[in-house]
């Protein structure tokens, strides 16, 4: 059974904005029946380039439906220019996180949005122009490269989680590894090692810490019936509060130092010190 957040469950059981807007200004169709998920996003844009309405139709699992639903909520009232910057991570974050194997559902949401905007502006979708590397799911190399760059992916398995590429017959695994290696090599020095980046603003730190908490730490703690909240970040000092089964547990100090601190040091900043709220 998947560990879905309350937000995912809410958007799945009571989805918002199901259907198609009348006389849409932009339509985005992505996915297919064969792939196991598909999304049709329709948007209405006014003369000031603001998205006034957005609706969806989705064939897929709970996280695909929830991603579509939350996306339409985000879009309503949003200027087109801002909507263009929505990433799959923003969608996943709005849902309080997705299981890592389900990240491709948020990617599908973003791709449908891009397709709808391109349809509106008459632009050609750059991603679709790439060379198809995964034939099972029709994923192009450009899509893979972008997923690797934007989400700091470092393994073929992660690529599959985010794009579905390689999740079918597996024939493209070698090609995916090549793309991965090349993309990582090509990354500018700075982007290549964000964890070791010396100067991060507090805001950047908080954002990155929250991302790691949501994506990796919370799901792991949840398995033992616990949770964690970020309370404060002051310089290198990160104050957190352990919740649920973790609070008052004998091993909570071990969890904090050996697991939470280690993960945050690996992925955010080597100098971080994690403390529990007194």
């Amino acid at each position: 059974m998947w560990e879905y957040t309350d937000k995912v469950q809410e958007h799945f059981i009571h989805p918002k904005n199901v259907g198609e807007v009348e006389n849409p200004d932009g339509v985005g169709n992505v996915g297919s029946l064969a792939c196991g998920d598909a999304l049709k996003l329709t948007i209405k844009v006014d003369e000031k380039d603001i998205i006034t309405d957005a609706k969806f139709k989705t064939f897929g699992c709970a996280s695909a439906i929830a991603s579509s639903s939350v996306l339409t909520e985000m879009l309503k009232g949003m200027p087109l220019a801002e909507a263009k910057n929505i990433t799959n991570d923003d969608i996943a974050e709005a849902l309080g996180g997705l299981p890592k194997e389900k990240m491709h559902c948020s990617v599908m949401g973003r791709e449908a949005l891009e397709a709808a905007i391109a349809d509106f502006t008459g632009a050609i979708l750059p991603m679709a122009q790439g060379e198809v590397v995964c034939e099972c799911f029709g994923v192009t190399d450009l899509e893979v490269i972008r997923a690797v760059e934007e989400n700091s992916l470092r393994s073929v398995e992660e690529i599959t989680n985010f794009t579905k590429a390689g999740g079918g017959c597996g024939k493209c695994e070698e090609r995916l590894r090549e793309i991965l290696v090349k993309t990582v090599e090509d990354l500018p020095e700075k982007a290549q090692s964000p964890p070791k980046e010396k100067r991060m603003t507090t805001l950047q730190k908080i954002k990155k810490i929250e991302q790691v908490l949501e994506r990796e730490i919370k799901p792991t703690l949840k398995k033992d019936g616990g949770s964690i909240e970020l309370i404060d970040v002051d310089g290198d000092f990160v104050t957190v509060s352990l919740r649920g089964a973790c609070s008052g547990c004998h091993s909570s100090q071990t969890t904090l130092k050996e697991y939470v601190e280690k993960k945050l040091r690996e992925q955010v900043l080597e100098t971080l010190i994690v403390e529990e709220e007194k």
């Binding site: 998947w2 709970a62 099972c136």
Partner: protein
């Protein structure tokens, strides 16, 4: 932990079953007072050994075997591995296995990894199935060769319930001098089995599929079949499987087999009627729904139905809101990205494979539960279809 089993409508019995209250009762002394080691010399342990032997006889009776042909293991998967690896070691010069494309991962994955496990190259023949999920015996005959060490074919498919003619296939194997194994974890207790009258050499069964606990299985090894143990150790099971016996669960499995024997007729009448009602009701009330698997040659408790243009995980989670438990062959439920290998082998189109739901009943299901499911399902499917971009164009 509180699980409130009385509040759920449990229709996932091919995944696992409720432990029968009679089974729990039979096990209790062996979880409390009677903790002796069955191998001990003293009466305190020896009497526990007698209980294990009684269980062995009950199990043998259910499947028409002799008590000495029953070897206790930890699960169905261990039984499968034991049988296949035993045959390969018995005939090290034979490097060919015949199996099917629809086996449970316990056999499928073992066969896929044999080269790594044994350090030898093996040739595997994966027999195909038709749209109904049935095998073609002529291709089977042709697949057998002098190189074949063992045939492994399931008695009943866990996803569709389709039954394979394993008795006839075992006879054909025997004529060619090839060992025959069947994974019968879904069949034992649901259909009558009389191994004494067959040429089957090995049969795997699992406790938790027939109202005994998880963690106990059996490998039937026909008398005279060459056998090399998988787990070496003490002299338990006459040297065929080392390790101190899981006494309480073995006793529980013995009791469960007695119950299964007594319930066999009910399983094939009352449970079958409930299944048929559920199946006919769903196919009748939900448009674009179809049955997966042969309509007749099937376990009496299983119905695998596809609801086109919707996705299985989404269906299951809506059912979960009503406390209805079932399974799906959709990609999303497994964590993989491809739908069930069984449905794909049958050529079920993608429109249907992603939306397949398996209902598997047991003697504990009631007519009220069937009515409840029949009441809830059409609305769930309709709701998801209004959301599906493919529905309108196919309406």
């Amino acid at each position: 932990m509180q699980c409130h089993s009385d509040q759920v409508v449990y229709m996932d019995n091919n995944a696992t079953t409720r432990i029968a209250p009679e089974v729990v009762e039979a096990m209790m002394p062996f979880l409390t007072d009677c903790y002796g080691n069955p191998s001990s010399m003293h009466t305190f342990g020896g009497q526990v050994g007698q209980a294990v032997e009684q269980a062995r006889e009950s199990i043998a009776r259910l499947i028409g075997a002799r008590a000495e042909e029953i070897v206790f293991t930890s699960c169905g998967t261990e039984s499968d591995s034991t049988a296949i690896l035993s045959a390969l070691q018995t005939f090290p010069e034979k490097r060919h296995i015949v199996t099917t494309r629809v086996e449970h991962p316990a056999v499928k994955s073992l066969c896929e990894n044999l080269d790594n496990l044994t350090g030898h190259k093996h040739r595997i023949t994966w027999l195909s199935v038709d749209a109904d999920g049935t095998l073609d015996l002529e291709s089977y005959r042709q697949a057998l060769s002098d190189e074949t060490a063992i045939v492994s074919v399931m008695w009943a498919n866990n996803e569709t319930g389709v039954l394979f003619p394993v008795e006839e296939m075992a006879r054909i194997a025997k004529e060619r001098g090839v060992l025959f194994h069947t994974d019968a974890v879904q069949a034992v207790g649901k259909v009558p089995i009389n191994l004494g009258a067959t040429d089957i050499d090995f049969l795997s069964l699992s406790g938790h599929k027939l109202h005994a606990p998880k963690g106990v299985g059996v490998l039937y090894v026909a008398k005279g079949t060459p056998f090399i143990p998988f787990i070496n150790g003490g002299h338990q099971e006459h040297g065929r499987r080392g390790g101190t016996e899981n006494v309480a669960s073995i006793v529980g499995l013995g009791k469960a087999c007695e119950l299964a024997g007594a319930n066999m007729e009910e399983e094939n009448t009352r449970v079958r009627a409930l299944r048929d009602k559920l199946e006919a009701g769903l196919l009748g009330s939900v448009p674009k729904s179809l049955l997966n698997g042969h309509a007749q040659d099937r376990l009496p408790n299983t119905a695998n139905i596809s609801f086109e243009y919707v996705e299985g995980e989404a269906i299951l989670l809506h059912m979960n809101q009503h406390q209805i438990c079932a399974s799906s062959g959709s990609a999303c439920t497994s964590g993989s990205l491809e739908p069930s290998h069984v449905l794909r082998a049958m050529g079920v189109p993608f429109t249907a494979a992603h939306g397949s739901i398996r209902f598997s009943l047991s003697t504990y299901n009631s007519e009220e539960e069937i009515d409840f499911v029949l009441e809830k399902m059409p609305a769930i499917i309709a709701k998801l279809r209004t959301m599906s971009p493919f529905w309108e164009e196919n309406e």
